[in-house]
């Protein structure tokens, strides 16, 4: 028998419902409005009144309309068929919705996330009598390029014995593939899919590990100076127009991970569309398959209901954890976590909670922290190491990093890639400001050299600040050359042309090679330059040579010959050390 309630109050996407029996905190309920069933979630209970946030527009809903409680927490379906899909924040498949309902998102129209009819070729890995526990692999089905492991449901607690398991063959999502027996001899059915409540982390692994391996993003500025680790977290705060989304898009394309989950949360639909439409067309150089084959997109853009925007990041991270359980390295890109925080603020406001800073709810920090804490490198039950890396953009109000969302995020992430408006306006991309950013992770470039380059950049900045006060004539030639060196490193190495097919992504080997080249042959070198004008000309020419070098494919003929040319050019200007042989 379903428990029911009656609406007594409506204010935007928030309703109050009077109920008779009991309700669960965070359980899903449906408003019955004529033919429509509108999904909502219990978020506060007082006496016999439950307050619910509605994942839909509430226009036309009336006081007195009936509400059905489901007894289930907001959950997602996990199983083969997720890869390549585009979901909204509640895991509705948007492509199917479009086929069914056309241009617009029809209110109250929900479809199954995974096709129940599709057949999957299942290969068992266990046999009758084996002992298993939550997260253990029972078998696998092929999904795109991966072995999609079918695991003991994460909600099963304790040790189970395999009572039966099906033979290798084709099964759909509705056919049980195994029966497991618990200690009390009760039998449970297992299917190719399972469901999991989005707000609870999946913890079916042996232990958490320290994130140590560098995640190669192929962005030189990130990998060489402010690296991210597999299983780590990073944030990209920046004012509007500084290139957060473009940066995330580039990372989603080039990062060396198995699976990318993109959570487009409360941002522009136009940008998501680009990802949606281009990913199936772009070939992933590592797999020679379309990029969309290893991507799941959660798309809840700014004009879609605000409550499902709030849940979209949880939906995304749950799917990420699911694939991690199979032994894969997953990267979750959330754009933008500020919109998610704002959704919390809107809901909190409707609940008339006492506001914290800038009207954000008091629990803002703990929610942000527990979201990023779902990243991590783990050792699974079978010993495999797998990871979820989370990268979130932050859109600080007024571009001011002091605001609550940025500050709360900085407390919990391992790398901070701060974008600056000045750099963006000067067309220096990526506009990550090397003077304010930091990372707690290790790069594949020698630590001492990285540290030295940081000082070079800081020194160059100091000199150029000084020049603003005392003028070019007020500083020594030595200082002038130092500032040119810093600028040169910034221009040819830190900046990367996203529209140049070669320059847009630099593999690890090339980064090491070029970084060393610049370090030894330019930064550490002493050049025989007569005056400032000659110095400027020298570096301008060098810059131009490097720009061309950046556009040549790694180890191609052009690459090798330009490297030679640059070496000759540099050697000509090298100061000959008198007592050296």
């Amino acid at each position: 028998m379903t428990r029911k309630g009656r609406i007594v109050k409506i204010s935007g996407s928030m309703i109050a419902v009077e109920f008779k029996e009991f309700v669960l905190q965070n359980e899903v309920a449906y408003i019955i409005h004529g033919e429509e069933r509108l999904k909502s979630e219990v978020i506060r209970i007082r006496g016999n009144i439950a307050e619910l946030q509605v994942y839909e527009n509430t226009d036309g809903v009336k006081v007195g309309d009936s509400v059905e409680f489901t007894g289930e927490l907001l959950s997602v379906e996990l199983g083969p068929g997720l890869l390549g899909q585009i979901f909204d924040g509640l895991q509705n498949p948007l492509t199917l919705l479009a086929e069914r309902f056309g241009f617009f998102l029809k209110r109250g129209a929900y479809l199954k996330a995974l096709s129940e009819e599709s057949l999957w070729e299942f290969t068992p890995l266990v046999k009758k009598g084996d002992k298993v526990k939550a997260g253990d692999k029972l078998g696998f089905v092929p999904e795109k390029i991966f072995k999609h492991y079918i695991m003991v449901p994460f909600a099963f607690s304790g040790v189970f014995e395999i009572e039966s398991i099906v033979e290798k063959g084709s099964y759909n999502l509705r056919q049980p593939i195994a029966h497991l027996k618990d200690k009390e001899q009760r039998t449970q059915e297992v299917f190719l899919k399972q469901s999991w409540p989005v707000k609870i982390p999946i913890r079916a692994y042996r232990e958490r590990l320290l994130p140590e391996k560098t995640l190669v993003t192929k962005m030189r500025l990130i990998d060489s100076l402010f690296p991210v680790a597999l299983g780590g977290t990073y944030c990209i705060p920046g004012p509007f127009g500084s290139g957060k989304t473009v940066l995330q898009q580039l990372i989603s394309r080039h990062a060396e991970v198995d699976i990318v989950i993109i959570a487009a949360c409360g941002e522009r639909a136009g940008e998501v569309v680009e990802t949606l439409k281009t990913f199936p067309q772009i070939t992933d150089p590592r797999t020679a398959r379309p990029l969309s084959d290893r991507t799941v997109i959660i798309c809840n853009t700014s004009s879609m209901p605000v409550a499902s925007r709030e849940s979209s990041v949880y939906t995304a991270v749950t799917i990420a954890e699911y694939y991690r359980q199979m032994g894969l390295n997953v990267l979750l890109l959330a754009d933008s976590t500020s919109r998610w925080a704002q959704a919390m603020r809107e809901i909190s406001g409707r609940l008339e909670e006492i506001p914290g800073e800038e009207a954000f709810p008091a629990y803002l920090e703990s929610r942000i922290a527990s979201f990023y804490e779902r990243a991590g490198s783990v050792r699974l039950n079978d010993g495999t190491v797998a990871s979820v890396t989370i990268g979130g953009t932050v859109s600080p109000a007024g571009g001011n990093f002091e605001e609550p969302v940025t500050q709360a995020t900085l407390k919990v992430v391992g790398a901070f890639l701060g974008l600056s408006r000045e750099r963006a306006e000067a067309r220096k991309y990526p506009a990550i400001d090397p003077l304010i950013s930091w990372s707690k992770y290790k790069s594949f470039i020698d630590e001492d050299k990285v540290r030295y380059l940081h000082t070079v950049l800081r020194r160059a900045n100091e000199i150029s600040q000084m020049m603003k006060v005392v003028g070019e004539e007020g500083i020594t030639l030595e200082d002038y050359v130092d500032s040119l060196k810093g600028e040169f490193f910034d221009f040819v190495y830190l900046q990367q042309n996203a529209f140049d097919p070669i320059d847009e992504a630099t593999p690890q080997e090339r980064q090491k090679h070029v970084f060393d080249f610049i370090y030894h042959k330019v930064i550490k070198e002493d050049f025989a330059l007569q005056d400032k004008e000659q110095a400027l000309k020298f570096f301008q020419k060098l810059r131009q040579l490097f720009k061309s070098w950046n556009s040549e494919a790694w180890q191609s003929e052009g690459f090798v010959s330009l490297e030679k040319e640059i070496k000759i050019f540099l050697d000509e200007k090298k100061r000959v050390k008198s007592n050296h042989v």
């Binding site: 509430t58 226009d59 009336k62 998102l105 700014s302 004008e533």
Partner: protein
Amino acid sequence: MYKVYTEILEIAGDVITVEAENVGYAEIAEVISSLGTSLAQVIRLEGNKVFLQVFAGSKGISTGDKVRFLGHPLRVASGEALLGRIFNGTGLPRDKGPSLSEQVVEIGGPPVNPVKRLIPHKLVHTGIPLIDLFNSLVESQKIPIFSIPGEPYNELLARIAVQAEMDIIILGGMGLKYDDYLFFRNILEEKNAFGRTVFFVHTASDPIVECLLVPDISVAVAEDFALKGKRVLVLLTDMTNFCDALKEISITMEQIPSNRGYPGDLYTQLAKRYEKAVDFEGAGSITIISVTTMPGDDVTHPIPDNTGYITEGQFYLKNKAIEPFGSLSRLRQQVNATTRSDHRTLMDTMIQLFAQYRETLEKRAMGFKMTDWDKKLLRYGAMFEKRMMSLEVNLPLKEALDLGWQILADCFKPEETGIKLSLIEEYWPKK
């Protein structure tokens, strides 16, 4: 048929409360008072209490006045009959024409399914080099003109509208001065665009709630045209007035303000309107250009700040020219790869050099000695401002590109620009 309620319990701000049953959220009602009839919308339901926001304001409403619920959400007539006409924020005629009730469409309809959108890909030529060359406008883009009072933003808006050659123009005026409205009408008439234009005008002296409805009604009508295959250009001026109306009403409604008095959902409210910009797969499109006047020329003020996060860039109008820094079209890379092979490099190089010119200006202002390089930059900057930036320049894109190379060649040697050799060989003007 419709029940009429006479007991008004409470009047606070422009919100009245009545007791009524079977009323839907966001439903429309008529409030009939001695001053006439106004529409009102349900904004909260609590038990049998219904809170209504009165569009014409609560002035002159008595507790004995009648309220009649219409049983439907806010609607507006749409279609060809609207062309060349002028309406207020609730869709009633402001000109002498008849009121319309054909082809009604609902206001504030559902969002577009993202998978049914097309990637923006059609360049809109405006003849303004700072837009076409440096910040290309793209069909279905949503982009504001950031400016301050006193700048010719409405002139710029009108010029883009006329030169962009769209099928339908919808002008939503919020807190518009009557002079401005006349200006738009005259210029559109002059350029033979009046017959394909619909005006929704809220002037500074009209009730504040009507101001809130202007963007909604404008995009609702635009959407109807777009679904019928038309390329629609929506002009919204000035969105700052819309946000201030939102602030006024939310504070009256005792909502907790978040930043400088603006409601916490300002972003969502703006996004709901701006996100209507779309290129439909298999139908028309909506492009939105708006005006956001920045209080105190402060881009970090909540209005331009929230706007900037939603829109696809902005044109920053300052000192009667589009400022290269601060202006950005996020969609330009969708179109500027296919115009000409030098477009992107030229765009970046000219801006980088212009940035150095600005630094040199600072240096000069502080009295430092100008080096040869500085002198070159000064010459370049002056030329750029005069021949590219000035709003008086009207050039097709290809000519603007050629002009760009000419300016570079007049001021610099090829290697001073940092442009890669292959492009220099192809485009550097031969003496």
